[in-house]
């Protein structure tokens, strides 16, 4: 993040644009016990800020974002809590009011650019249809704008690309096209769910650089979802670490990386590949798997995998220590209790 932006949005200075409070998503699985995929998640996103949601596969990152967007399957789940965007709780909006906001005020990009694009519709049409929908433009009026958008996201020869189909573009170009669609109506919030996971390493870096540039230029707030703390390091102002459907640690980028408190955050940090590491050095991933999780209701879910475990961890739920800017959820944090 640039110095300029840090001063533009000093911590806590502006009202949050999105304020998620105690979000819970429960899936009713046939014949099985209900499953809490998201178990009381709270976080804030201020205008122009980039916030990371980080955690292992299955910790509830995608479900959190889909719940905010109102894109969870119609049946088989219950959503509780609040997601206040610009003074309105998105979770209580009518489907049609939510439809008016999606793509216009809040946009989203997904992990797999190929499957996320309609194979039988041209790139141009897939960009213009958002503007036709939300800005009342005709297809003809929207087309030159679509061309400009493709140019802005770094697609070479944008005019020719308008009439191309997704299969005619490379993976990186497809993700750029999806970003163009998401930014078409200048949304105030962009949610990116693992936007680089399906791409080559070199392309990943390009896409991240592009996202960073765009959010700085347009002042769009960004929620960056990833399992890779390395992605977050260069991009996010604030990081939320999720474990088993709960936020277990939150901090500013610098604080979190320098002085992580939660043992799980430490594990994640140790598993970031380092460029200066000797070749072939084994990474140090968090031992065990989410399958070992204890129920949050009566313990710390992370206890079976934790190096810091104390007695209380298996008998009580660790409460949140902190506020909406920094904090953690641990009985025995690294560096001792202050």
């Amino acid at each position: 993040m640039t110095q300029a932006q840090a001063t533009r949005h000093p911590r806590g200075a502006s009202e949050p644009l999105l304020s998620v409070r105690d979000l819970r998503v429960t899936f009713q699985r046939q014949g099985d016990a209900a499953f809490k995929a998201v178990d009381g998640v709270s976080f804030d996103v201020r205008p122009g800020q980039t916030v990371g949601l980080v955690g292992e596969s299955g910790c509830g990152k995608s479900v959190t974002s889909l719940a905010i967007m109102g894109l969870l399957p119609e049946r088989g789940n219950t959503v509780e809590g609040k997601a206040v965007f610009d003074g309105e709780d998105l979770l209580t909006l009518s489907p049609s009011a939510m439809r008016d906001r999606r793509g216009a005020e809040i946009a989203m990009i997904f992990q797999d650019p190929l499957s996320s694009l309609n194979p039988v519709i041209t790139i141009g049409r897939q960009v213009t249809e958002v503007m036709e929908r939300h800005q009342g433009l005709s297809r003809k009026q929207a087309t030159p704008k679509a061309r400009d958008l493709l140019e802005r996201v770094g697609i070479p020869d944008p005019k020719a690309r308008l009439v191309n189909y997704p299969h005619q573009l490379s993976g990186g170009m497809r993700q750029r096209a999806l970003i163009a669609m998401a930014l078409a109506c200048n949304p105030r919030l962009l949610i990116a769910d693992e936007p680089t996971t399906a791409l080559d390493v070199t392309i990943q870096a390009q896409i991240l650089a592009l996202l960073k540039e765009l959010v700085v230029d347009t002042g769009t707030a960004l929620v960056m979802i990833t399992h890779d703390l390395g992605v977050v390091a260069g991009l996010c102002d604030e990081v939320n670490v999720l474990y088993g459907g709960k936020v277990v640690e939150r901090g500013g980028r610098h604080g979190l990386f320098k002085r992580p408190r939660h043992p799980y955050t430490v594990g994640l940090l140790n598993s970031i590949p380092r460029l200066d590491a000797p070749l072939g050095e084994k990474l140090d991933p968090v031992p065990g798997s989410v399958a070992d999780n204890l129920p949050w209701a009566s313990a710390c879910a992370f206890a079976p995998r934790c190096s810091q475990v104390v007695d209380a961890c298996t008998s009580h739920t660790p409460e949140w220590e902190g506020d909406h800017v920094v904090g953690h959820r641990c009985f025995n944090p690294m560096g001792g209790t202050p």
């Binding site: 999606r102 996320s116 694009l117 958002v130």
Partner: protein
């Protein structure tokens, strides 16, 4: 696109050529050979020899095949022995063709016009009463043999309740002008509305009977395809863009779901002749299917030959049309 069509047409020629060899071989393998087939079993040896020489059967096989091919290319397949004795075999086929085209067309329009919307609706309301009802109905449609459906329709609607004609294509005593040989179309073209209405009444039951299986198959494939597409990531993307339900359904869901449906429709048209044989027989509807059944039963080999080759040509042509339609819908095929 043009290269694609030309390539497919060339492929079609090869297919038909191979088939002509098979038909030729089949004709020669008939008990007693083509001479008996044409003259019947009880003939004097002299007449047999004369015909053999006349047909060139004393010559080597490849020569015989080339001669057969030469005659076939000139439209000369011999003379019908039983279906319409003395008439040119090709002419028999051409006379019967309009009836079957009319019947098949109406049946397919029915099957498509009902199958696709119902399939879509069932998928949208998966697990609902509409869905379950339609699925069971389509299962029955597939499981019950065509001739039985045809027979039931005829028994109730024509015989018992007397609502529609029992058989044939036109009421006796009606004097209608013929242009295309498709009676409904003729009635409209000549503005003989009573004739058109009469033809429609004769067409309803056979068309419904013939439509059952294509309808059931198209319904099921549409339903499955829509269910698949609804789960696709790009539908979620469309939702994330806030597009209206109408745009999402028409542009993003239906269009993609049509890909497997188009293939299915092609296959069903290809398979229509089998259904037409049974339906036309039950309703004495004088079309190609009825001719095929008669020719087969009465061993009218010249007519059989024409019908088999014609069926092959039509089948391949329909496939070509399906491939073109597919390429139009799916750019991944059109653009490499």
């Amino acid at each position: 696109m043009i290269r694609f069509v030309v390539r497919r047409l060339l492929q079609m020629c090869v297919v038909v050529l191979v088939l002509s060899m098979l038909v030729f071989a089949w004709l020669r393998s008939l008990p007693g050979g083509p001479v008996s087939a044409i003259l019947g079993e009880r003939q004097t040896p002299e007449r047999r020899a004369a015909l053999e020489a006349a047909l060139g059967l004393d010559q080597p096989l490849p020569v015989q095949y080339l001669k057969f091919l030469e005659r076939a290319l000139q439209g000369n397949f011999g003379v019908s022995t039983k279906v319409l004795p003395g008439e040119d075999a090709l002419q028999v086929f051409l006379d019967r063709l309009p009836a079957t085209i009319e019947l098949s067309f109406v049946a397919m329009v029915l099957a498509i016009a009902l199958g696709i919307p119902l399939g879509y609706l069932a998928a949208r309301r998966r697990g609902s009463v509409i869905d379950n009802g339609a699925v069971i109905f389509s299962l029955v449609g597939i499981a019950v043999p065509v001739f039985f459906t045809a027979f039931l329709l005829k028994y109730f609607f024509a015989v018992e309740w007397n609502l529609l004609p029992v058989s044939g294509r036109q009421s006796t005593g009606l004097d209608a002008t013929r242009i295309t040989g498709m009676f409904v179309l003729d009635g409209i073209l000549t503005r003989e509305w009573d004739a058109a209405w009469d033809a429609i009444k004769h067409l309803i039951l056979p068309a419904v009977a013939l439509a059952t299986i294509p309808f059931a198959v198209i319904f099921r494939i549409t339903r499955a395809a829509v269910l698949d597409v609804l789960d696709e990531d790009y539908v979620r993307t469309a939702e994330a863009k806030g597009l209206t339900t109408r745009v999402i359904r028409a542009r993003h869901v239906l269009r993609n779901a049509m890909l497997p449906v188009v293939t299915t429709i092609g296959l069903q048209i290809g398979g229509l002749l089998a259904g037409a044989v049974l339906t036309e027989t039950v309703f004495s509807f004088r079309g190609v299917g009825d001719a095929l059944a008669t020719a087969f039963r009465d061993k009218d080999y010249p007519v059989l030959q024409v019908l088999i080759l014609a069926a092959a040509v039509i089948y391949v042509l329909v496939n070509l049309l399906v491939d073109i339609a597919y390429a139009v819908i799916d750019p991944r095929i059109r653009t490499r």
